[in-house]
C-alpha cells in the first residue's frame, strides 16, 4: 500500500535485534527506554529553542521589524543565550505560596508535553509508542496540562495568577470538546484511532482533500480550537499580558518560567504535528492522482522531511493568527466555542458519518 522508501522500522528493528542479542529482554527494554528518552530530550530542547527563535523572527517580519540579530548570524543563537540566562536566574521563592504544588506545577506541564510527543509518528516506523488508541491518548494527555496550569495559578498565592488559571481552566475544558470532535472526524473517515493507521489510510490522498468540505471544516475548527487549547494568541487569555501581567506564571522565575515557556512552544509543536498527521497525511508525500513521475519524485523526499514541513506549515499559520488578531474576551471566547465551533463541528461530524456511510469519500 505504501510506496514509501524511507522505512525506519527496519532500522529500529535491527537495533532491537542487536540489543536482544546482547542482553536479557528486561535490559533491552530499559536500554531502549533510555535511548528513546535521550533522543526525545535532545529533540525537545532543539525544537523548543528553534520554535522560540522562529516565532520571534516571524513576528518581527510581520511587524516590519528585524527581530533578533545580535547573537550569532541573524541572531540564530539568541534563544540559546536566553536559555542560559534563564538557567542562571534566581528562583524566587514566594512567601505564603504552596511550596510543593508551586514547584510541581511546571513539571506537570512539561511532563504532559513529553507524553504528547511520544505518540507522534515522525516517519514511517519512527514513533515511540504506536497505541491502537493514539488519538484518544493524545486527547487525554493534552488535557492533563491544564492541571499544571491550574496548580501554578492557585499555588502562587497571587491574584493575577489565580484569575489566569481559572480562565485557562474554563477555556481548555470547553475547547477540548471541539478539538475532540474535529479529531473524531478523521477517526470516522479512517476507521482507526491508531496514528500510524491514520497515516497509512492517507497513502492515496490526504484527508483534507479526500474528505470533501467537511474535512476542511474540521481542519479549520481543529486549528482554532487547538490554538485556544494551547493558550496561544488570540486565545492567550490565561496569560493576557495586558490584563494579568503574565497570568498563571506571573510569579515564576528562572528555569521554572522557562519550563512553562518551553511547554507552550512544545504544545504548539504537538498540536501542529497532530494536525499534520491527521489532516495533511503525516509523513506521507504529496501525490497527485495519476501523475506517476511527479509522485515518484515526491517519494524521494524523506518522510521525516514531509512530516516536519507540514508541521511547520501549521505552526506558521498559528503564528500568523497570533500576530494579527487582538485577544478575545473571556465571554466571547466561550461564545465562540459554544455558539459557533461546537454546533458546527457536531453538524459536521453527522455529515461526515453520512458521507462515510454512503462511501462518498475517496
Amino acid at each position: 500500500m505504501s510506496s514509501n522508501i524511507y522505512d525506519f522500522s527496519t532500522l529500529t528493528g535491527s537495533i532491537h535485534a542487536s540489543l536482544s542479542g546482547m542482553m536479557s529482554s528486561g535490559w533491552v527494554t530499559f536500554t531502549e527506554l533510555v535511548l528513546v528518552g535521550l533522543i526525545f530530550l535532545t529533540f525537545y530542547a532543539l525544537i523548543g529553542l528553534f520554535l522560540v527563535y522562529l516565532e520571534r523572527k516571524v513576528c518581527a517580519i510581520m511587524q516590519n521589524r528585524i527581530g533578533p540579530n545580535r547573537v550569532g548570524k541573524w541572531g540564530i543563537i539568541q534563544t540559546i543565550a536566553d536559555l542560559i540566562k534563564l538557567l542562571l536566574k534566581e528562583l524566587i521563592p514566594i512567601r505564603k505560596s504552596d511550596k510543593l504544588l508551586f514547584n510541581l506545577a511546571p513539571f506537570i506541564v512539561i511532563v504532559t508535553t513529553f507524553l504528547g510527543l511520544a505518540i507522534l509518528p515522525f516517519a514511517k516506523g519512527l514513533q515511540a509508542i504506536d497505541f491502537n488508541i493514539g488519538v484518544f491518548y493524545v486527547m487525554a494527555v493534552s488535557s492533563l496540562g491544564v492541571v499544571g496550569i491550574l496548580l501554578a495559578g492557585w499555588s502562587s498565592n497571587s491574584k493575577y495568577s489565580l484569575i489566569g488559571a481559572i480562565r485557562s481552566g474554563a477555556q481548555i475544558v470547553s475547547y477540548e470538546l471541539s478539538v475532540g470532535l474535529s479529531l473524531l472526524a478523521i477517526v470516522v473517515f479512517s476507521g482507526t484511532m491508531q496514528l500510524s493507521g491514520i497515516v497509512e489510510s492517507q497513502a492515496d490522498g490526504w484527508w483534507i482533500f479526500k474528505g470533501h468540505i467537511p474535512a476542511f471544516i474540521s481542519f479549520v475548527i481543529f486549528l482554532v480550537a487547538s490554538t485556544a487549547e494551547i493558550n496561544r494568541g488570540p486565545f492567550d487569555l490565561a496569560e493576557a499580558e495586558s490584563e494579568l501581567t503574565a497570568g498563571f506564571h506571573t510569579e515564576y522565575s528562572g528555569i521554572k518560567f522557562a519550563f512553562f515557556f518551553l511547554a507552550e512552544y512544545m504544545n504548539m509543536f504537538i498540536v501542529a504535528a497532530l494536525g499534520a498527521t491527521l489532516f495533511l497525511g503525516g509523513w506521507m508525500p504529496f501525490h497527485i492522482g495519476n501523475w506517476e513521475g511527479f509522485n515518484h519524485i515526491m517519494n524521494f523526499i524523506p518522510s521525516a522531511v514531509w512530516f516536519i514541513s507540514k508541521t511547520f506549515f501549521i505552526i506558521l499559520i498559528i503564528m500568523w493568527f497570533k500576530w494579527t488578531f487582538p485577544r478575545l474576551r473571556i465571554d466571547q471566547l466561550l461564545t465562540l466555542e459554544w455558539k459557533y465551533l461546537l454546533p458546527i463541528s457536531l453538524f459536521n461530524i453527522v455529515l461526515i458519518a453520512f458521507i462515510v456511510l454512503m462511501g462518498w469519500h475517496f
Binding site: I61, M62, Q63, N64, R65, N69, W320, W323, F325, Y340
Partner: protein, 160 residues
C-alpha cells in the same frame, strides 16, 4: 429563518474581516519593505545626527583655541535647572585695565533638560548644541563638564 441567515452572514463577515487583517500581516511577511529600525552600534560610522540635534551644550573653539564667551552669565541666569555655573576672573589686559575673563564654564549635563535657552540667549553666540549623544558614563561626576578648553582665550570680535 431570518436569524439563521444572520448567523451565517455574521460568520462569513467575521471570517472575511479576519482575513483582511491576515492579508496585511501576510503582505509584510512576504514583502517587508523599508524597515525604520536603525542598527545602532553597527552604523556608528555612518550615523549622522541632524544639525539641530540637541546632544549637549558645547562651546565652539576655533583653530587658535579661541572661544566667544565673555563670561556675562546670561546663560547661567536663564538656565531653569541650574546646570550652568560660570566662574570668572578679573585679569589685567594690555592697557592695564581689569577685565572680566571666563575661568571656567561649568556645565552639568546630568541636570540639563535641553530646553535651549542658554544657546538662544547667549549674546555673543558662544554656546551651541553638539551632536554627541553617547553620554553614558559609570561615574556621574564625569557628567560635569568644563566647556572652555584649557588655555583658551576669548576672540577679539566677541569683546564689546
Amino acid at each position: 429563518m431570518n436569524s439563521i441567515a444572520k448567523y451565517f452572514t455574521d460568520l462569513f463577515k467575521g471570517i472575511s474581516s479576519l482575513w483582511a487583517g491576515m492579508r496585511i500581516t501576510g503582505k509584510y511577511f512576504f514583502s517587508p519593505g523599508a524597515i525604520v529600525t536603525q542598527q545602532y552600534p553597527e552604523n556608528r560610522k555612518t550615523l549622522k545626527m541632524f544639525d539641530e540635534f540637541k546632544g549637549e551644550v558645547i562651546m565652539p573653539h576655533d583653530e587658535n583655541n579661541l572661544h566667544a564667551c565673555t563670561g556675562c552669565g546670561i546663560c547661567e541666569m536663564n538656565c531653569p535647572n541650574g546646570s550652568i555655573e560660570i566662574i570668572t576672573n578679573r585679569v589685567a589686559n594690555a592697557e592695564g585695565k581689569l577685565e572680566r575673563v571666563i575661568d571656567k564654564h561649568i556645565y552639568h549635563l546630568s541636570m540639563c533638560t535641553f530646553c535651549g535657552l542658554c544657546v538662544k540667549t547667549c549674546p555673543s553666540d558662544a554656546l551651541a548644541f553638539g551632536q554627541e549623544f553617547e553620554h553614558a558614563v559609570f561615574d556621574r561626576n564625569k557628567l560635569t563638564k568644563v566647556l572652555n578648553q584649557p588655555g583658551s582665550l576669548i576672540k577679539k570680535e566677541a569683546k564689546k
